[in-house]
């Protein structure tokens, strides 16, 4: 099968003597929402970083929309990440000196969009995610749930084709977690964005179409593509 937007084949990644990935093969289709689950240390984050070109696997290939990531130079991969991918992490992702709106506008500004235009689009996304009232506040003035809404706005503002999220609700209580997952999946669905979410919480995985379970650096079980 080769009709995925992301195709990974035989991914191997070692950190010294630790074998983080021991041969992972998977396909994710365009528009799919996939959870990556599994115990602590199983290799979930490493897999996400390899799929998104943040890390280079020692062995194996990742193909995104027909392009082999390992054939690209670091600059091209960085540009690809900036234009085609969005990222949401558990914490520590916003620039603490910048107001929420400037955080959201940042990837656009880096990509050469004029500041006025970038701010306008950033505000629009904050509003869609229900975070318009915190636009002028800096990250340390925000609640955990607000931080994640801002982070999601920043991930979506560039119009990515894939959003990668690593434990996006890991620092939130269950109500804030539900709200964050609801806005994330709602907008991913509306924009036809492919969503890959690492989580150890079944309630978060239940927002996705299917789950891939990683154990000990390999895919232990996967549900059928639907």
């Amino acid at each position: 099968m080769n009709d995925g937007i992301i195709d990974a084949k035989g991914l191997v990644k070692d950190f010294g003597t630790t074998k983080a990935l021991r041969g992972v093969t998977l396909t994710i289709r365009g528009g799919e929402m996939v959870a990556i689950a599994g115990p602590s240390g199983a290799g979930k984050s490493t897999l996400l970083y390899c799929l998104s070109g943040i890390l280079q696997p020692d062995w194996g290939t990742v193909t995104f929309a027909g392009r082999r990531l390992e054939t690209l130079g670091e600059a091209d991969r960085a540009a690809l990440r900036r234009r085609e991918f969005g990222f949401v992490f558990q914490f520590g992702q916003l620039v603490s000196e910048l107001r929420a709106v400037d955080n959201v506008a940042l990837p656009l500004v880096i990509d050469g969009v004029r500041r006025v235009e970038a701010t306008h689009r950033a505000l629009d996304w904050l509003e869609r995610l229900g975070a318009a009232d915190v636009a002028r506040e800096t990250p340390d003035e925000l609640s955990g749930g607000e931080v994640q809404r801002v982070a999601i706005a920043r991930a979506l503002v560039t119009g990515p084709r894939v959003v990668f999220a690593d434990e996006p609700t890991g620092a939130l209580d269950s109500i804030a977690g539900d709200e964050v997952m609801t806005v994330l999946t709602e907008h991913a669905r509306a924009q036809g964005i492919t969503l890959v979410v690492v989580t150890h919480e079944p309630r978060v995985a239940a927002y996705m179409h299917r789950e891939i379970v990683v154990r000990d650096g390999t895919v232990a079980s996967r549900e059928a593509v639907r």
Binding site: T182, P202, R203, A205, S221, E223
Partner: protein, 174 residues
């Protein structure tokens, strides 16, 4: 219900009397609630009637305690089917999930595959409930949450057990 499958699991290993079966059951699943002899003999009677087990030997004299049973091919099929099938996700499954896991281990089956299948069944139900919550009124959403938190608790137990299968196998098969 699980008593019947536990007896099939023990009889798959070797032929046994009701007395041995009670000992084996209490050792694995009794924990403060030993099974009554009456329930063992009644269950054996039903299993025999349904062709899952048959009499292997009858010692001289009367009474159920003189009978030694063996499992039939049908009994093995029935046990195998039960041990490989995930349970429909519903409340109060803990005894059944535990029994399936332990019996899969003591009978040399793949308990990990069973737990993964059960995880899949639970997650599918959680997906339905999550979809139900979208756009629902608060009362509906909270009722769905109630079920979701319980299913999540089951899944945490499933993961905990999945991560300790090797130790559990050693403990229950020694």
């Amino acid at each position: 219900m699980t008593v019947a499958y536990a007896l099939l699991g023990f009889l798959e290993e070797e032929t046994r009397h009701g007395y041995d079966l009670k000992q084996a059951y209490d050792a694995l699943f009794g924990a403060g609630r030993p099974v009554q002899f009456g329930q063992i003999y009644a269950t054996l009677g039903r299993l025999e009637r349904d062709g899952r087990i048959r009499l292997a030997a009858q010692e001289p004299g009367q009474g159920p305690e003189r009978k030694r049973y063996e499992i039939t091919a049908e009994g093995i099929d029935e046990l195998h089917r039960w041990l490989s099938e995930p349970e429909a996700p519903e409340p109060h499954l803990q005894r059944t999930l535990f029994a399936k896991t332990v019996l899969a281990l003591t009978t040399g089956r793949d308990a990990g595959a069973y737990l993964d299948a059960q995880r899949g069944a639970h997650l599918e139900r959680m997906r339905e409930l999550t979809a139900l919550k979208t756009g629902a009124d608060l009362a509906t959403a909270l009722l769905a949450d109630f079920a979701l938190f319980h299913l999540e608790a089951d899944l945490r137990w499933i993961e905990q057990t999945r991560g300790r299968l090797d130790s559990l196998r050693q403990e229950v098969t020694r």
